[in-house]
């Protein structure tokens, strides 16, 4: 599944308002609900699942990037959101740095391999030289979306 299918224009938040992790995750979880309206999707339940996952270990994997994710029962497919925070969000990241780029992924529990495939695309995209720098510098959601499309093209099928 392409990043631009997981994350659509409407689930890109160019300026996350919350300074804290919980608030940032809520903004992203709510963006998926508002834009995609998945059957049975309740933002508070998804937020709770995301926070539960963070408690097992931070998804802030260093370099200012976090991949918050959760498995949500009854979800009709995989959904993604992207959030950017200029001041940064404290994620308790592995390198202790604040997180500026958040790729959120929610998936149904049975879709373990689709989840891995999405993580592969994301991680391969993030590794493209200067990609995180460009994502941080993008002027608006449109430019961020163009970069996601570029990540899709570089990573291939």
């Amino acid at each position: 599944m392409k990043l631009t299918e997981l994350v659509i224009r409407e689930t890109i938040i160019e300026d996350i308002q919350s300074p804290d992790k919980k608030g940032a995750l809520r903004e992203l979880a709510e963006a998926i609900r508002a834009a995609r309206k998945p059957a049975g999707y309740k933002t508070p339940d998804v937020l709770e699942a995301l926070l539960k996952r963070e408690k097992m270990g931070t998804t802030g994997m260093g370099g200012g990037v976090a991949l918050p994710h959760a498995k949500v029962e009854g979800l009709p497919g995989l959904f993604g959101a992207f959030g950017r925070s200029k001041p940064g969000v404290d994620f308790g990241a592995v390198d202790g740095e604040k997180v500026h780029l958040m790729f959120m992924l929610v998936s149904p529990p049975a879709e373990a391999n689709a989840h891995l495939a999405a993580l592969k695309r994301l991680s391969a995209g993030i590794r493209i030289p200067n990609m995180t720098k460009f994502l941080k510098a993008a002027k608006n959601a449109r430019e961020i979306w163009d970069l996601l499309r570029e990540m899709d093209e570089s990573v291939g099928a």
Binding site: M56, G63, A112, H115, L116, S123, R127
Partner: protein, 83 residues
């Protein structure tokens, strides 16, 4: 070694593996189907998309290479202590 946990090498096991690999002086690489990645990088490990049943090979070069390989194999074989 074979990935035995049902959900494969997702973020949590990759984080555990990278954390463990970082404790050794040796350079540790993980191989899957001709792809080599640094065991110290969560992002690189995730690019393997190693599902349940995937065969991986470990290579370590350095003063504590044997210890590193043993420790990592043990972690993988214990299903990362997650199941």
């Amino acid at each position: 070694m074979t990935i035995q946990n049902a959900h494969g090498l997702h973020v949590r096991p990759a984080t555990k593996l990278a954390d463990l690999a970082g404790k050794f002086k040796s350079n540790v690489t993980i191989h899957k189907d001709g792809q080599d990645v640094s065991a110290r990088s969560i992002i690189e490990l995730l690019t393997l998309a190693a599902a349940h049943g995937t065969e991986l090979r470990i290579r370590a070069e350095g003063p504590d290479a044997t210890e590193a390989v043993d420790a990592i194999a043990k972690l993988v074989n214990s299903r990362f202590g997650l199941e």
